[in-house]
Symmetry: C2
Subunit: 345 residues, 2 copies
């Protein structure tokens, strides 16, 4: 039995048998990385706001195989299939890559969208083997559109796959910013503990000392929660809102997590982003966010150079920004599909 998530609180076990075309959203995470949870929340908001003519139906990644079978029985030509965005296309997170291949090769007659991703196949034998498997699966589907969320990934996807490739920001940047909080205290350090980590722990300690003025609370956390075991479409919204609340109370965020920078953008929180092992945050920052004053990216490891940079970020004022138009290529793809099938908008 498969759970299909529809709207804000409906969990059904049978796909609705109505006339509305369906937008199937595969790969929805249940693990506790709030960045990935925010991505799945944001793409739901995007489709429901911009394309209400579709019935948006989410499928947990753990249900991929069972859901493919159910959906294959009922899918119609106007229906759209999609796989969740994020930063996990490639050989580093094989569970996700395997689910993604299965979806792409199972619905080759339907418009299939890979929501904005970054991509990294390791340059070794393991990476090459997995790359070939993905190429074989993706290229079975002539209606598959890959969306890259940074220019490096756009280049890599076009080098790797024969599929169509579009270019938009990470879906979380579709969300509108909160009203910015004026009363703030504290500095939040958000650092990953996984294989992508490159920032030295000693540097992190030194940066804490730079920001510790005796009055400011200095805390460290990660956007991967350890307070819950599992997150579903029913619980993700509140946890995401709580996280934005946490960010909006900080004077500054220091991080190596791309989505911690995105949460800082949405909450108007000064933020310095360090790199990961293959540049996914760096590229996305320079592609979409360099014009936003209160955030910055660095590869620096010299404390004497970092100190003035951090102090400067604390002084910057907020300004309006908008990256909504940068989703145009995705908008047009879905609009043209609706037109082709005369779906009323």
């Amino acid at each position: 039995m498969v759970n299909f998530y529809i709207g804000n609180s409906n969990v059904v076990t049978a796909i609705p048998n109505d006339k509305k075309p369906k937008f199937f959203s595969f790969g929805i995470p249940t693990y506790t990385n709030l960045g990935d949870q925010a991505v799945s929340w944001a793409q739901k908001r995007y489709i429901e706001n911009e394309f209400p003519e579709y019935e948006f139906i989410e499928i947990l990644e753990e249900d991929t195989e069972a859901a493919i079978k159910e959906i294959q029985k009922v899918i119609q030509p106007p229906d759209i299939v999609s796989f969740v965005g994020g930063g996990n296309m490639g050989s580093l997170y094989l569970d996700h890559e395997i689910a993604r291949r299965r979806v792409f090769e199972s619905f080759t007659d339907n418009l299939t969208i890979s929501f904005p991703q970054s991509i990294h196949f390791e340059e070794n034998q393991h990476g090459e083997i997995e790359k070939k498997k993905s190429q074989e699966a993706y290229e079975k589907n002539p209606n598959l559109y890959l969306v890259a969320r940074d220019a490096q990934s756009y280049h890599r996807m076009q080098q790797t796959f024969k599929n169509h490739v579009l270019f938009t920001p990470d879906m979380v940047l579709y969300l509108q910013p909160k009203t910015f909080n004026e009363g703030r205290s504290g500095a939040l350090f958000v650092f990953r503990q996984d294989s992508e980590k490159v920032v030295d722990d000693q540097l992190i300690s030194s940066l804490k000392k730079v920001l510790d003025n005796g009055k400011r609370s200095i805390e460290q956390t990660d956007t991967v929660l350890d307070t819950v075991d599992r997150i579903t479409p029913e619980s993700r919204r509140k946890l995401f809102k709580d996280e934005l609340e946490l960010f909006s109370n900080q004077e500054i965020v220091i991080t190596d997590r791309w989505h911690a920078m995105v949460f800082s953008v949405l909450t108007g929180t000064p933020c310095l982003l360090f790199g990961n092992s293959y540049g996914k945050g760096k590229h996305a920052y320079f592609d979409w966010l360099e014009h936003i004053d209160w955030i910055d990216y660095t590869d620096e490891d010299d404390l004497e150079r970092l100190t003035p940079q951090i102090k400067h970020l604390l002084t910057l004022t907020k300004h309006p920004y908008d990256v909504r138009n940068d989703f145009n290529q995705l908008d047009k793809l879905i609009e043209n599909h609706s037109k082709k099938f005369s779906i009323n908008r």
Copy 2:
């Protein structure tokens, strides 16, 4: 009387009255910037190689008005109109921007392509006024596709214009690399003398001292020639080939010119690129070329940090690279147009 440039050596004053659909290429430069000359040469190669079903016809920028009148008399629906690529969309180079507006607003029923550009409207009253004029002109043309050559420009074009925006590299990167020269001597400094210059002359002098080992010739030049007054489609190819020959003889190139980095890529010449006033080279480097070992970008002005970076570049070996697939969005646009008009390929 207007000169129309067709093929490699034909200059005609009447548009050929044959059945072949035309690809009109406006804005061809006669000034002596070899980067811009290389762009116009490369887009001719691209269309003639990839889309030989079209008759490629070039029009000098100085002939824009007269040519618009001539072409309006004979243009057919399958014909394509285009304006040359480069790094001059915006308020800094108004001659070009004015010609571009005139072309875009004059052929609103034809597929119109703005070849890969970077864009910069100054953030002041002058910039705002010019931006409005461009918006009005561009938006008269629903068949206009702007192509951005870096992600910053892709974002800016989508914020500025309602037109379609595609994303590809600079056209010069379409050209195939030369066989790399093994016998090299000398260091070439290529620096701009215009309003985009930001690198300090004293730093340039210091870098020359770093590379001067008593045996190595150290020369400074610019990709803007002062040895000729004017370049046309008849003379540009030889001058461009001579420039590539010059680059291919160097051990290293130090520059703040984006196209000097591109020439270094094509000739396998180690190259360090510094920034200009608004980041056009920086973004294009990170978007398309970061994976090429023998070139690098820097914003650094500390000689102690630059010295090892330059010495490291001198040791790097060549490897194959290919950005050809990154032109896919442009390929598909023209392919679909040919299909729509049943033009035999």
